[in-house]
Amino acid sequence: MAVTVPSPTPTVEAMSPWLEAWRVFRSNKAAMLGLVILSVIVLTMSFGPSLYGVAPFDIAGAPFTPPFTEPSVWLGTDYLGRDVLAGVLVGGRATVLVGLAAATVAVTIGVSIGALAGYFGGWVDTALSRVTELFQVLPALLFAMVLVTLFTPSLTVVIFAIGIVAWTGTARLARAEFMRLRHLEYANAARAIGAGPLRLMLREILPNALPPLIVSATLIVGSAILFEAGLSFLGLSDANVMSWGLMIGSNRRNILECWWAVTFPGAAIFLTVLAVSLIGDGLNDAFNPKLHLR
């Protein structure tokens, strides 16, 4: 009598999906470049200002000193004689912190609204989709400008203003994912053993919806940074906190006399957003199994 031999366990050990994603991400040169640039920027803004030791609002030399001429003010001075290098070193802190905090607010609002709409469907979905539509037709920057003007322009208000205008994309994405996942077998199984809606949403569906949400969160960080820069350029952020956007905005009237005071902080914003979006693209490829089979 023939004995059925149990099939041998596969010799290749199954990787966890996160490890697999990291493997794909690591082999992506552009994404790794983004990670390196971002690490350098974060290290520079963390330790640079205290190593350099010049306060960004202090007068450090004669106004309009061109860059690479005076060793004491290597990147030159602006129209008030403030050291451009000191501003560039410290100016990223506000920009990046506001960007991260605002993206957190946006993702929290977006995922909550999208999850409720996608999970419950019906009238909840209709109502929440209308709310999402409303926030989509309000031009984000103008709406944030109104919020910042009506309330005081502190960093907290700026964070919430950006967060409140930036969540709609995430909400649409989360809604689609929750709709797709809520009737899959594992969700039904969890429901059958008595899991309530909250548990189902948070413990069963959300972890499986995470990959696309993480990618979109990364992209929101990028656009929130651009947003903060835009608001401070317009002079609508906290005027007592040096940021890249504020440097460009305050030197706007004198750009023809001192190009360096706007070019360097702008380049810093550009590099930061570029790094974040390279990382976002890399995460997208890493989490999307269809793409890396090609």
Binding site: L134, L138, L141, L150, F151, V262, F270
Partner: protein
């Protein structure tokens, strides 16, 4: 036919609902801001004048209960009365209509230019996805996305203001051209439009080229393209007539969704180039604490986005006959 008509009416109804919702947001903002709502409406200019404040309280019925105030506010706004600007001493709706033209000119030039150039770049890149040109398009789209739009504008101002002065870098008209004929002054406006439109359009060229490339690559892989090639159609006919039409859908969707961002970008670009549009009006309103004007600009821009979304919907049906009657 009647079904189509019903669909159009439903669309218009939803759009009208959105306008009401935008007004409701404005109302909520006025009443949730710290301080007296009359003060918010009057701004700092009118706030000093007790008689003006009393007039506002009476006019806006601020002594009445909130629901009644809300109905009054909606009613006034729907009649086109968005309040009075105390900085300019003119009705807000008049101020906005003056500034609407330049903004629409700027936004549409940038959008249409970006759609044409971006799509063309994306289509050409998709023909040979591994070529050098395709790589250049990808890098360009990454760079275009990451450049802050006001910084791009400032770099162009430095370039054309200092290094190579062939373009006007501020305003919409040259003072010396005031008495000139229609054609000459139109050319003058177009000359002033070049840099702002290029600045605003650049981000969208970047986005459209990237999107068009991805969308075309997907479409070019499908069976009907192979069939079209197999029956002997030329490369260009297949690319532009068969593939592009199908690859257009995501592009149109994005154009509709992006319209709000486009207006946000226009605010920054107008500031850099002193373009006399809604964006500079909003910024002046902020500096002068002129809240009725600021909220009026917000309302009007939202209406622009709503109209743009309606047009997007119409163009879906035009591009894809399968959607007609749905």
């Amino acid at each position: 036919m009647t079904r189509n008509l019903w669909l159009v009416l439903r669309r218009l109804g939803l759009a009208f609902g959105l306008v009401l919702a935008v007004l409701a947001v404005n109302f909520t903002l006025i009443h949730s801001a710290p301080g007296d709502p009359a003060m918010v409406i009057a701004g700092e200019m009118g706030g000093a004048d007790e008689a003006a404040m009393a007039a506002i309280r009476k006019n806006y019925g601020l002594d009445k209960p909130l629901p009644e105030q809300f109905v009054t506010y909606i009613g006034r706004s729907l009649h086109g009365d968005l309040g009075t600007s105390y900085t300019y001493n003119r009705p807000v709706s008049e101020l906005i209509l003056d500034r609407l033209g330049p903004t629409i000119l700027l936004v549409l030039t940038a959008l249409l230019g970006a759609i044409c150039i971006g799509t063309l770049m994306g289509v050409l890149a998709s023909r040979r996805p591994d070529s050098l040109f395709s790589g250049v398009v990808t890098v360009f789209s990454l760079i275009g996305y990451a450049m802050p739009v006001f910084w791009t504008g400032i770099l162009l101002v430095i370039l054309f203001g200092k290094v190579w002065p062939i373009m006007p870098i501020a305003g919409m008209r040259d003072v010396r051209m005031m008495g000139a004929g229609t054609w000459a002054s139109m050319l003058d406006v177009l000359h002033h439009l070049v840099l702002p439109a290029v600045t605003l359009g650049l981000i969208y060229v970047a986005q459209y080229s990237r999107l068009a490339r991805a969308s075309m690559l997907e479409v070019l892989g499908s069976d009907y393209i192979r069939t079209a090639r197999a029956k002997g159609l030329g490369v260009w006919a297949v690319t532009f007539k068969h593939a592009l039409r199908n690859a257009m859908m995501p592009l149109v969707t994005i154009a509709g969704l992006q319209f709000g961002n486009l207006i946000s970008g226009a605010v920054l670009v107008e500031t850099v180039f002193s373009w006399p549009g809604l964006g500079t009006l909003a910024l002046d309103a902020i500096l002068g604490r002129d809240y009725p004007t600021l909220l009026g600009v917000l309302t009007f821009s939202a209406i622009l986005v709503i109209v743009a979304n309606l047009l997007t919907d119409v163009s879906y049906r035009w591009i894809d006959p399968r959607l007609r009657g749905r």
